[in-house]
């Protein structure tokens, strides 16, 4: 019943919304207000994606609204182009500007990024106000209304339909995008860039995609704004307006698409009411609403930093992964024959300043084998691991995988070559469900891009990806928690989620960094059984582990490091007796 309600509610609400102004219940004053809410919602939805999902805070979205508005303004006023034709033009102009600005912006780290948005936000604002053919500070009057046939859409009621169709379409496209492969990658980026990159997500590319998408929604809002106001001036495109849009996204609940509409409604109504009420209270005019804005923003941040939507409507519903049809499977990877040399580490060296973390280490991994990499704390095991997976660059030496040299490689390239990894400190996305976290592992196996996701044409492929994810979750014994948010799981379970995610990559070599840490005895046994099974399928495993019983019983071959140097190598039985290893672990026998 609830499920049916959930799936039927949005279309019913959407339909009710579009009829509302013609019922006569809604005074024109409120219809106009709702038009502004809808236009702001578009910008706020973009910001939700950019800030709440992508982790990039922008104070400059209003500048993109400006680009949309001015594009249509110039084309219709100066060149007499029909308003409908300027829509694609407005979107393209916004896209080009956003791609250029974003190419620099999305690469900025930490607080440099929002600072940059403030800077170009202000620069664009002054630019709009100083270019004579944009009408300088006076702006462009006389922008024609939208037209259907010969009928002009001037009545706010009619414009209402145009605005809210745009909002409904934007919500649908954005939700679809977020639920698709690319959206999953973007959602993962904010919480765990390392994990996303280890499964082949191109960080800068994904961020730029989100940035341009958000900007284009703002551009669309600008186009709607221009034809509703039928004039544009630089005022509404400054950083003050940009902060207002950000406030809407934060108030509604960063990361929640419907929250953007709630936030836009809240702020727009608040501003309107304050403009009516405050001069009456204070007896003279002024921009009192800005006092209230500031207060609301600070209070929301202090008391409800996740915004209003989660408080009113609870946590997001679990995802609805598409159900796979029978026989829906991704093509299996052709694994190398047993005994083939896979990974060659030759004189690998890593210096951190004066510290030699890995000192000319040599070893090899053959296919269908489990290799244990052991050593006391600080031996350089994890550093070696990060060198192989491309998370750190080599100082000198060489690493090759199936003949491909891995000198200047990136985590993305390692993933593409078939190296699936887990992390010593668990790297999962806590607010995504377990199965979505695992499906991130299959990122490189899918091909659907932004447009297929937005139009929901990626369902067949998504079904396959989720089928793979579910199969791997079953193998690690976590199928029953697949729909839970990953943040609710215990540490041991999260390690298994990471193993399942790495298996989703269809790896040739599985690199596990302390997978048994935090696992109970039963779970350890199950993991050992799984790893033997994986080996029998032809996948090799490189294991960094402190649990000696676990690693001794499992590994075919051990490599022992101490202070960055390899001190022994061989089968477990020999390593147990090796005097150098005993000394490293237990101290010298004097």
């Amino acid at each position: 019943m609830m499920a049916a309600l959930r799936s039927f509610a949005p279309p019913i609400v959407a339909a009710a919304l579009l009829i509302a102004p013609f019922t006569g219940w809604l005074p024109d004053y409120w219809v106009t207000l709702f038009n502004y809410i809808g236009i702001s919602s578009l910008v706020a939805i973009g910001l939700v994606l950019l800030t709440g999902v992508g982790g990039m805070t922008s104070f400059g979205q209003s500048a993109f609204v400006g680009f949309g508005a001015y594009t249509t303004g110039v084309l219709t006023v100066h060149f007499g182009v029909s308003p409908w034709l300027t829509l694609p033009a407005a979107l393209v102009v916004t896209m080009i500007v956003a791609a250029a600005v974003g190419a620099v912006t999305v690469r900025l780290s930490g607080h440099y990024l929002p600072l940059a948005t403030i800077a170009w936000g202000i620069a664009f604002f002054y630019m709009f106000g100083n270019i004579s053919w944009l009408g300088a500070h006076d702006g462009l009057p006389g922008i024609p209304a939208l037209r259907v046939g010969t009928h002009q859409l001037i009545d706010p009621k009619e414009y209402f339909v145009v605005v809210w169709i745009a909002v409904v379409l934007a919500v649908i496209a954005t939700q679809n995008l977020l639920n698709g492969r690319v959206g999953r990658a973007v959602r993962a980026l904010r919480r765990s860039t390392r994990a996303a990159e280890a499964f082949g997500v191109n960080t800068a590319g994904a961020k730029l995609m989100v940035f341009v998408y958000a900007a284009m929604l703002a551009g669309l809002a600008g186009w709607l704004y221009a034809h509703f106001q039928r004039s544009v001036s630089p005022g509404p495109f400054g950083v003050v307006a940009g902060t207002e849009y950000l406030l809407m996204a934060v108030l509604g609940g960063a990361g929640r698409v419907y929250g953007a509409i709630l936030g836009a409604a809240g702020i727009t109504v608040l501003r309107d009411q304050l403009q009516n009420l405050l001069p009456w209270l204070f007896g003279h005019t002024g921009n009192f609403e800005s006092i209230a804005y500031g207060a609301v923003l600070v209070l929301v941040l202090q008391t409800a930093s996740n915004g209003l939507w989660p408080i009113l409507f609870g946590p997001p519903p679990p995802p609805k992964p598409p159900t796979p049809r029978d026989g829906d499977q991704l093509p299996a990877k052709v694994l190398p024959a047993p005994g083939v040399r896979l990974l060659q580490v030759q004189d690998a060296r890593k210096n951190f300043g004066g510290l030699v973390a890995v000192n000319n280490v040599n070893f090899e991994v053959e296919s269908s084998r489990i290799i244990g990499l052991i050593g006391p704390n600080g031996a350089g095991k994890s550093t070696t691991f990060n060198l192989i997976t491309g998370a750190l660059p080599l100082t000198s030496g060489a690493i090759a995988f199936e003949g491909h040299p891995l000198q200047a490689q990136t985590p993305q390239r390692a993933a593409a070559l078939g190296l699936g990894r887990t992390f010593q400190h668990v790297e999962i996305v806590p607010d995504m469900s377990v199965i979505e976290n695992v499906a991130l592992g299959a990122n490189l196996l899918g091909h659907a891009g932004v447009f297929r996701a937005m139009l929901k044409l990626d369902r067949a492929e998504e079904a396959k990806l989720f089928a793979t994810a579910r199969r791997q979750l079953e193998r690690v014994g976590l199928a029953d928690v697949a729909m839970q948010p990953a943040g609710t799981l215990a540490l041991g379970q999260l390690r298994l989620v990471e193993v399942a995610r790495a298996l989703c990559l269809n790896p040739i070599l599985l690199l596990l960094d302390e997978p048994a840490a935090g696992l109970r005895v039963g779970e350890k046994k199950a993991l050992a059984k799984l790893l033997r099974e994986v080996r029998s399928e032809g996948v090799s495993v490189l294991l960094v582990e402190h649990d000696m019983d676990f690693v001794m019983s499992l590994a075919d071959h051990l490599v022992v490091l101490d202070f960055g140097t390899k001190i022994a190598e061989g089968v477990p039985a020999d390593i147990r007796k090796n005097p150098a290893v005993l000394e490293a672990y237990l101290g010298g026998v004097s």
């Binding site: 780290s109 930490g110 002054y126 902060t243």
Partner: protein, 345 residues
Amino acid sequence: MDTTIFLFLLQDGVINGAVYALVAIALVLVFAVTRVIFVPQGEFVAFAALTVAALENGIAPSTPWLLLALGILAAISDIVWHFRDLTWKRLLRIAVFDLALPVVLLLLTQALAPMKLGQAVNILLAIALITPMGPMIYRIAFEPLAHSSVLVLLMAAFGVHFSLIGLGLVFFGPEGSGTTPLSSASFSLGDLVVTGQSVAVLIVTAVLLVLFALFFGRTLLGKALRACSSNRIGARLVGIPTSVAGQFSFAIAALLGAVSGILVGPLMTVFYDSGFLIGLKAFVAAIIGGLVSYPLTVIAALGVGFAEALFSFWASNFKEVLVFTLIIPVLAWRSIYAPYHEESE
């Protein structure tokens, strides 16, 4: 461009740059101690200038009312957030600092303003009125968010900026005003006419910068503030109260803002919202200094002032566009060579 114009622009740029430098080091200090990117810093500048302007005309400025309003808000905020652990000591502090102090200053201002006691009194009164606003704002807006990310603090700073701009209009009105120069003397150096005001700006800035350096290099309190900025948790573990450090840094920021306001008052017509652009330009300098380095920030501030003077000569309409575009390559360079790692949430 001939030498005369160049020298004139240089003088103009250096003077503006000196003011930006004062505002910028306040931004760096506040960021270092509290991680707040304090967008409203410029408001102190504008409010101080407007206060002095009112006093010069023998009118009691509205500044003490604003101070009282902030004091009441700070008192409410303090009581609400510390409702469970209210102590008499805290209540006493609230009564003295948030309520009694503004009231005393209000009565003092009302009494002194019509007497027109002269520039020195006006300046001291303005500084006394503006400086307590810093710690009050910290307690109202930022202390409850002390553990949030830089981004949340930045958004809150924008919120404070909005509110202060709105309050500025309520308390100071939409009219702009200028103030009497600190010195009306002027002399020529070759073709260049150097005004006494320029010299005064440079001297005051230089003295303050030296004091600033001495304070952070030589005093225990200064070192404690530096400790807070380099490792907040570590500073708490060795017994430095971060709340006090935060309030102190905001007090210094407000003080520097007030002094900057007194310096720019005679140079331009100041409106209630003039502070924003001054603050943002100082901000460009602070970012070039990486929000860390004081000497680099001062040099950058002089550079921004000079660049602004040049741009206003060449393309006055696009002055602001150029100044703010300047920052993007700087950010990119900073981001690559000194990436800032946000502590994980």
